[in-house]
């Protein structure tokens, strides 16, 4: 099955729809250990990314990802802006300057997104950040797991942040008080991985 530049635009539209639907739930999660705006940032960022992706004409996969990266960053700032902008740029590079790839190659997109997030945020697994969903998803993708298993790895990773004490980002100042609550960035990340996996299945 092919994954075309048009499908990439569709993927960003799916990201935007999912973040719109989950906005208030993500804000409520963030209110427990952060500043309650994560859902807003993700919705605004993905809306801008989807809009920018849509306007790319006759572009390559990389063109679509690059346009989305720039739009996400400029709409959001915050911490998710640089992290996802870098992730999308790396994803675009992995997808390449070509009109399409196989849907199975979306695994390399997940791996590249993890790499971009590590490069920009300098986080390590276990610090209760979005990386705790992206890293297990990327590992599963690297191992050639199917779409179901990759999505499950991301969900399990997000769920596991409940048992972590934040040591990076704004919640780090809470110390043990962050225990028992999932990281909102990891939860939204697992939702994005689910959308990529849905596209992988076609």
């Amino acid at each position: 099955m092919e994954f075309t530049a048009e499908d990439a635009k569709g993927l960003f539209a799916a990201f935007a729809a999912r973040m719109q639907a989950e906005r208030d739930a993500l804000c409520a999660l963030d209110g427990v250990i952060g500043d309650a705006d994560h859902g807003i940032a993700m919705e605004q960022g993905m809306n801008a990314a989807a809009e920018a992706a849509k306007t790319v004409e006759a572009g390559t996969l990389q063109d679509v990802f690059n346009a989305a990266a720039k739009a996400f960053l400029n709409a959001v700032g915050a911490s998710s802006g640089p992290l996802y902008a870098t992730a999308f740029l790396r994803a675009g590079k992995a997808a390449g300057a070509r009109p399409s790839m196989t849907a199975g190659e979306l695994r390399t997109v997940i791996v590249a997104m993890r790499d971009g997030i590590v490069q920009r945020g300098k986080a390590e697994p276990g610090q209760k950040t979005m990386l705790d969903a992206w890293a297990p998803a990327a590992q599963a993708a690297e191992a050639g797991a199917d779409a179901e298993a990759i999505a499950a790895a991301a969900r399990d990773g997000a769920e596991a942040t409940r048992q972590m004490v934040a040591t990076l980002g704004r919640a780090a100042r809470l110390g043990d008080r962050s225990l028992g609550h999932p990281d909102p960035g990891a939860v939204s990340a697992s939702m994005l991985v689910e959308e990529i996996c849905r596209a992988m299945r076609g």
Binding site: D24, C27, G31, V32, I33, G34, D35, A36, D37, I40, A41, Q44, L73, N74, A75, V76, G77, A78, S79, S80, G81, P82, L83, R120, G121, L168, G169, R170, A171, A172, R173, L174, R177
Partner: protein
């Protein structure tokens, strides 16, 4: 749960509509480049040969940050969404619009998002041949232990730290000196706050956190992040004492030292309560043998509509006193 009542039109447009109102109110002090609506520049102040001081961060803390843009203080501010760091572009636009050719100092609170975005802005400026350095404010003593000062967040102490750096730049000191003075000011500024109620974001219009009646959050951040602990609401004197005990223990100032004081509202707490706090702060400083050189009382660094207050003490020396006394003329803060 009912939505909180706010005088807004559209939660997503709140920041841009506020900026339009600010520019309309203060045309003598502030302007924005046509293609950079989130960069607010001082009308007077930026000039050739002067270090460009750029501050910035999320909205919702007004008069921080844009209120401190003006002659003698910051040259420009990069404005983010509510409680969210601005992206790199407004910071680049702000620096270039105010560029005096003597280098740029980015000065802002220590938050992961701000650091990533301003670092990207600094990289973009370097590519344009503009030297950009960064000093992070870390005055909130409740946000990390004393031996991890670099992990602390920047809160209301920004006002004094920005003031010192702005004065140094206005005195035409070189970038090395402006940076040194900003670091020195930050090292000697200590803040702690309490929240009595949650704030709510214009986009959600729901309380950002749940604080039951009769309780307060101690060591609260300025974005509604939880503090170090929660406890029963106590009297103004008890709250001032707890905060002053913590600050005095850290500050370690000898008797006879001079200080600057900021008793700050987080948004909803009225002047009456701030002055009640300040009465106790003054007593405690006198008892410690410290001389109050200057006191600011009011909403200087807010957290939307949160009820609560913070106390900031800057431990002055001759140099910092000169910087704090230096005249400035901003839209929302004037001196001398």
């Amino acid at each position: 749960m009912s939505l909180t009542q706010k005088l807004i039109n559209d939660g997503n447009a709140a920041v841009d509509e506020m900026l339009a109102g600010v520019i309309a109110a203060h045309p003598e002090h502030l302007w924005r480049p046509d293609n950079a609506p989130r960069a607010v520049i001082a009308k007077h102040g930026p000039r050739p040969g002067k270090v460009t001081l750029v501050v910035g961060g999320g909205s919702g803390h007004e008069p921080t940050f844009l209120g401190y843009v003006g002659k003698g203080l910051a040259d420009a501010a990069a404005i983010g969404n509510v409680f969210a760091s601005p992206p790199p572009q407004p910071a680049v636009d702000a620096a270039l619009a105010a560029n005096g050719g003597a280098g740029v100092l980015f000065l802002y609170g220590n938050y992961a998002g701000d650091v990533m975005n301003f670092d990207m802005a600094a990289e973009l400026l370097e590519m344009e041949g503009v030297e950009a350095r960064t000093v992070l404010t870390t005055d909130d003593i409740a946000s990390a232990p004393r031996d991890q000062r670099g992990k602390r967040r920047g809160v209301a102490g920004n006002v004094f730290i920005f003031k010192a750096a702005g004065a140094a730049a206005d005195m035409m000191l070189p970038l090395d000196e402006v940076e040194r003075i900003a670091r020195h000011a930050n090292a000697r500024t200590f803040t702690m706050g309490v929240a009595l109620s949650s704030c709510s974001l214009p986009q959600t219009r729901r309380p950002s956190f749940d604080l039951p009646a009769g309780e307060m959050e101690i060591g609260m951040g300025i974005h509604g992040e939880p503090g170090v602990r929660r406890g029963p609401l106590r009297t103004a004197n008890e709250v001032a004492d707890e905060i002053m005990d913590a600050i005095l223990a850290e500050m370690d100032a000898p008797r006879g030292a001079r200080v600057a004081v900021l008793v700050n509202s987080l948004g909803a707490t009225p002047l009456m309560e701030l002055y009640i706090l300040n009465a106790r702060v003054a007593e405690r400083l006198a008892a410690a043998g410290l001389t109050v050189h200057k006191t600011l009382v009011g909403p200087y660094c807010t957290s939307l509509d949160m009820a609560g207050a913070s106390i900031t003490i800057m431990h002055l020396d001759d140099e910092l006193q000169r910087m704090i006394d230096h005249p400035c003329d901003c839209a929302m803060f004037r001196q001398g």
